[in-house]
Structure formats: structure tokens, C-alpha cells
């Protein structure tokens, strides 16, 4: 049963299984295990990014396509939901049609871009998507009458998903059972389902073919696979998944703007999460996203402590000042690529042998 749920793709390493279980349990019971707004924010972010990163891995790890336009799809999904909610009010109908519309638009865009990849080489494709994504971001910021421009959109979501809605009056385990909690579990369960769907896709005959295309597209053609269609389908699937993740973010944040969805920075974060976790395995997305977001959220706090401890040393203390957390994130970038060349999952699985 469990293996069927995982599409037969078990973690294949004791430590990995343990880590994944810890992540799963922590996320499933996050509101109760780690009470507080910040930790709930972090947990929701992790859920959403697991889906986003996994959808990117579908493209990068399984199909071997480097694209910088993934945040564009993420953004399209988020804006779809956001626009529907702000235009037609906080109803479930608008939430759903906004989400669907976002996914459809993302699919159409992905189809066009995917077909373009027919013409150019991988590295050019990467650069083209980079340019397209940056143009898209500018476009969004210019069409402020629709998108709110740089300022983004603030909107309401159905009342049952907001803190104002109290499900029951008493607290359970000292936690308020309110709409926020509902919203979190919506994010959690949808993310879990999307993840399982992707796990199924990568273990399907289609997913296997993607790996073959990645390994040797030339030969894949010669045994009868129409490579372009596989690549394009993978691009579209991955875009739709990213768009759905975007919709989740839009619902969770009740805000959508370029900085939360379209920025190059997020794109790089996604890349790093995939690589840290391990490309070509969706479990890598889980670990990569979890670790990275934890680091991103708590590194600054940590550095605050370090800065105080070293305040006597003039140069060192400026280097570890919380303002310089990006510096250390950059260092982390470099180090993680060195130390996890095959990602955490690769390392754990190799360690098993």
C-alpha cells in the first residue's frame, strides 16, 4: 500500500527514510509541535517549495533541461489565483477558477517555450528562458493596472481560511483551531498530493523515458521516442505543477507580487535546493527545500548571536553581522555544491552501499 502510494520509489536508504519521516511528521504536525507564527510560516513555505522544487527537478533532474523560467510559471499560478480573488471576491469559486486559469496559462506558455527548445541548444535555451523570464517580470511590473506592479496584489481569501474564523473556541494543545490552521492544512495536503502525483509521473513509463532522453536524446530518437514531445510534455507538466505551487503561495500569503514569485533570486534558490537535495530524485527536493528554507529563515538569527560573541574582533564582527547573512548564504552555495556533488540523497544512498 505504502509502496504503491510512493509508486514503488522507496527512499532506499535507512537514514534517508528516517530524515524524510522526520520532515513529514514535522510538517504534518507543525502547528502543534512548533507553535508560533514564524514556524507556521516556515512550515507552509517548506511545503510549497517542496512542490516547486520537485516540479523543477522534473525538468532539470529527469529531463536534463536547464530553464530559468520556472519562477515565471510559479508567478503565473500565483497571479492567476490572486487576480481571480481580487477581481471577484473571496469565494471558493474564484479561488478555484483562478487556480485553474493560472495552470492553463502556464501550460500554454510552457508549450510555446518548449517548442522553441526544438530549435536551440541546451545552453542557449537556458539563456533564452533567462531573458524571457526577466522580460516577463518587467511586463508584470509595468502592467500595474492589472497586476499591481511592483507593489503586487493584496486580497482576501475565503473567510474559513483566515485567522478570524474560529473552528472551535477552545485551544487544542495550546493551539488555536482557526482558519489559519485550516489554510495550513490545505497547503500541506495539496502539497502532499501534488508530490505524490509527481512521484508517480517520474516512475511511470513516461518518467523513465524522460531519463532516457536526458541521458542520450540522440539514441532515444533512434529507438523511436519523439524527443521533442517528451521534452515539451515535461516542460508543460512541470510548469503546471509550478503554477499550482504558486496558487498555494497566493492563498497562503494573501499577497502576490513580483518579489515573492518572479524574482531571479527565487530561481536561484530553487536551483540550489535541487542541487543540495540531489538532482533526479524527488526526495532530494524534500530535503533540499527543507534545509534551505530553514537556513534562510534562521541563519540571520544565528549570525546575530555570532556577531555578539565576536563583537570584540572588529573585522570578524562586521563579517558575521546579521546584515551580512547573504555573504554566508553565498559561501553556503559554494560549499554545498562542493560537498554534495550528488546531493544529500546521492550521498546517503551511496553511503548505504
Amino acid at each position: 500500500m505504502l509502496t504503491r502510494l510512493l509508486s514503488g520509489d522507496t527512499p532506499r536508504s535507512g537514514l534517508l527514510t528516517a530524515l524524510l519521516l522526520i520532515v513529514l511528521i514535522s510538517l504534518a504536525f507543525a502547528p502543534f509541535l512548533f507553535p508560533g507564527t514564524k514556524s507556521l510560516e516556515t512550515a507552509a513555505r517548506i511545503c510549497i517549495f517542496i512542490v516547486l522544487v520537485a516540479s523543477y527537478d522534473l525538468l532539470l533532474g529527469y529531463t536534463g533541461i536547464v530553464s530559468f523560467a520556472h519562477t515565471m510559471f510559479f508567478g503565473i499560478g500565483a497571479y492567476g489565483t490572486a487576480l481571480a480573488l481580487s477581481a471577484t471576491g473571496p469565494t471558493y469559486t474564484s479561488l478555484i477558477w483562478g487556480t485553474v486559469a493560472g495552470a492553463v496559462v502556464a501550460a500554454v506558455f510552457a508549450l510555446i517555450i518548449g517548442l522553441f527548445s526544438l530549435r536551440v541548444k541546451a545552453i542557449f535555451f537556458a539563456m533564452v528562458t533567462l531573458a524571457v523570464a526577466s522580460a516577463f517580470a518587467v511586463l508584470v511590473s509595468q502592467m500595474s493596472w492589472l497586476t499591481g506592479g511592483e507593489d503586487g496584489l493584496n486580497y482576501r481569501i475565503p473567510r474559513e481560511l483566515t485567522p478570524a474564523f474560529k473552528l472551535i473556541d477552545e485551544k487544542i494543545l495550546d493551539v488555536r483551531i482557526n482558519g489559519k490552521l485550516m489554510a495550513y492544512y490545505l497547503v500541506f495536503f495539496v502539497s502532499a498530493i501534488l508530490f505524490l502525483v509527481m512521484l508517480r509521473i517520474v516512475n511511470s513509463p513516461f518518467g523513465r523515458t524522460l531519463k532516457a532522453v536526458r541521458d542520450n536524446a540522440f539514441r532515444a530518437e533512434a529507438i523511436g521516442y519523439r524527443v521533442v514531445w517528451y521534452r515539451t510534455t515535461a516542460t508543460v507538466l512541470s510548469a503546471v505543477m509550478a503554477a499550482l505551487a504558486g496558487s498555494l503561495l497566493a492563498i497562503w500569503l494573501r499577497y502576490t507580487g513580483p518579489a515573492t514569485t518572479l524574482s531571479m533570486e527565487i530561481m536561484i534558490d530553487i536551483l540550489l535546493m535541487v542541487v543540495i537535495g540531489g538532482m533526479g530524485t524527488l526526495y532530494g527536493a524534500v530535503l533540499g527545500a527543507t534545509l534551505f528554507i530553514l537556513a534562510q529563515t534562521y541563519l540571520q538569527n544565528l549570525m546575530g548571536v555570532a556577531a555578539e560573541a565576536t563583537s570584540a574582533l572588529p573585522f570578524v564582527s562586521t563579517l558575521v553581522a546579521p546584515e551580512r547573512w547573504l555573504l554566508w548564504l553565498g559561501v553556503l552555495f559554494i560549499l554545498s555544491v562542493y560537498f554534495f556533488p550528488t546531493g544529500i540523497v546521492g550521498r546517503l544512498r551511496a553511503g548505504r552501499a
Partner: protein, 261 residues
């Protein structure tokens, strides 16, 4: 049946030009079902290019390729594969990070047309796995089935090339120097496989080889390419005896002929 009237494969005035260089020059030739034709010729004569034109890696400048009487000249590689053309490559060309079994399974999957099956688990298609294992035992690679291809010795990789072709089960099989770079003791294994293919199935085989003893033992017919042109075609013994083959290919004639262009 209409198909019976046609040779299984035919090329008519097949030509390809790279810049100004005519690599295959108006080659017209047809191949019958159940035959093994050896293609010989000096290095750079256009043998691999001819294969590429038939299987679709290259598209002809002019001329046409017909399979069972149907023109396939402008078709893409997968389309031709679907219609029954399969080939092995001169330089080994596999899926290096996948296992041996997965390599063959992918071919079986392609043949079964299941590539776009998105929501079933690949491992649940038992028939594909069985097919893969069957082919692997045929080529005596079943013991290495779980190895990753890139870790496989050279000879076994060549065998796997052949295995992929068998799993694909095309009407036309093309081998490009299957024994190149293989030590003396490995050669017979491959030859035996090709022999078996020829005997077991009613297939058409095209074979590029430089080793004359191999050709003698396998071929029903030899065609000779030279500077992209088809210069000889016929019974092995006769063709080998031709002076152009002796001179330009085997280098047997005493006097030197001409210098570089």
C-alpha cells in the same frame, strides 16, 4: 499483398552534400527481405552517412529512401523507427547512467508504444521486463542486467548495442562495424549473434565491416561505396575480386594510383 512487390528497402539516387562535399552520391540500391548485405569501402567512403540517411539521422539533399514502397525520405528518426528501421552505431551509443536492463526495457517500451503512459508505475508493466530479460539472456548479458552501463567493459557494451537492436525487432537491421576495437576472442560472440538473427528471423540486415573474413562468413551480397558512389554490387567472391576493391579498398594492387586532391 502489395508489399510483396517491393523490395523491403530501396534508395533512389540518394545524395547528400555537406557544403560542397558530396558524401553520398546518387546511390540507388535495393535490399530484399531475408538477406544480409555487407557494405564495404575505404574510410570516408560514405558508409556511415548512407546509414544515417536511411535511418534518418541525416536528411538527403536529393533522392529518396523507400521502405516497403513507401517514401520515408523526409521522415524523422522516430517515424522511421516506428515503420521498422533499426540500427546500431559505429561508436557505442547507449544510455550510460541507466542499468543494462533499463536500456533494453526502454526499447521494449518504445516498441509497445507506452512512452506516454503518465500515471502507471513502470515496474508494473511486467511484460516489458520479461521481454528485456529474454533479450538479455539471448545475448548472454543477463548476469550483468543490473549493472550501470558506463561501468560495462567495451565488449559488453557492443553486445548491448546489438541487444537494443534485437529488442526493437525492426524489419531492417543495420550494423556499423560491430566488432571494431574488440579483441579477437570477443569477435565470434557478436558474429554468432548476427548469424542467429539472420537465421532466426526473416529480417533484412545491412552490415558495415572492414574485416574481410567476417564479411566472407556472413554476407549474401556485397556493395562497395567509393567517394560516395556505389561502384560495385554483387556476390561476395566476385566483388572482392574486382580490381577497384582490390586497389582502393584492400590496397593489393602493386602500382600507386594518384595523389591527394
Amino acid at each position: 499483398m502489395v508489399a510483396k512487390e517491393h523490395p523491403i528497402l530501396e534508395t533512389r539516387d540518394l545524395t547528400i552534400r555537406f557544403g560542397g562535399h558530396v558524401a553520398v552520391d546518387h546511390v540507388s540500391c535495393s535490399f530484399d527481405r531475408g538477406t544480409l548485405t555487407a557494405i564495404v569501402g575505404p574510410n570516408g567512403a560514405g558508409k556511415t552517412t548512407y546509414f544515417n540517411l536511411i535511418s534518418g539521422q541525416l536528411t538527403a539533399t536529393s533522392g529518396s529512401v523507400l521502405l516497403n514502397g513507401e517514401t520515408i525520405t523526409r521522415m524523422s528518426v522516430p517515424e522511421r523507427t516506428d515503420r521498422g528501421i533499426g540500427r546500431a552505431f559505429q561508436l557505442t551509443n547507449l544510455f550510460p547512467t541507466l542499468s543494462v536492463r533499463e536500456n533494453v526495457r526502454l526499447v521494449a517500451q518504445a516498441k509497445a508504444g507506452k512512452g506516454f503512459d503518465l500515471f502507471s508505475v513502470a515496474e508494473s508493466h511486467v511484460e516489458l521486463l520479461e521481454r528485456a530479460d529474454h533479450v538479455l539472456s539471448e545475448v548472454r548479458l543477463i548476469d550483468q542486467a543490473d549493472q550501470i552501463v558506463s561501468a560495462l567493459p567495451h565488449g559488453d557494451q557492443r553486445k548491448l548495442e546489438v541487444a537494443l537492436l534485437i529488442a526493437l525487432g525492426p524489419q531492417v537491421l543495420m550494423f556499423d562495424e560491430p566488432t571494431a576495437g574488440m579483441s579477437v576472442d570477443e569477435v565470434p560472440v557478436i558474429l554468432e549473434l548476427i548469424q542467429k538473427l539472420k537465421a532466426d528471423m526473416d529480417r533484412t540486415i545491412l552490415l558495415v565491416e572492414h574485416k574481410m573474413d567476417v564479411i566472407r562468413s556472413l554476407a549474401d551480397r556485397i556493395i562497395v561505396l567509393h567517394n560516395g558512389e556505389l561502384v560495385a554490387d554483387g556476390d561476395p567472391a566476385e566483388v572482392i575480386a574486382l580490381s577497384i576493391v582490390q586497389e582502393a579498398y584492400l590496397g593489393k594492387a602493386p602500382e600507386a594510383s594518384g595523389e591527394a586532391a
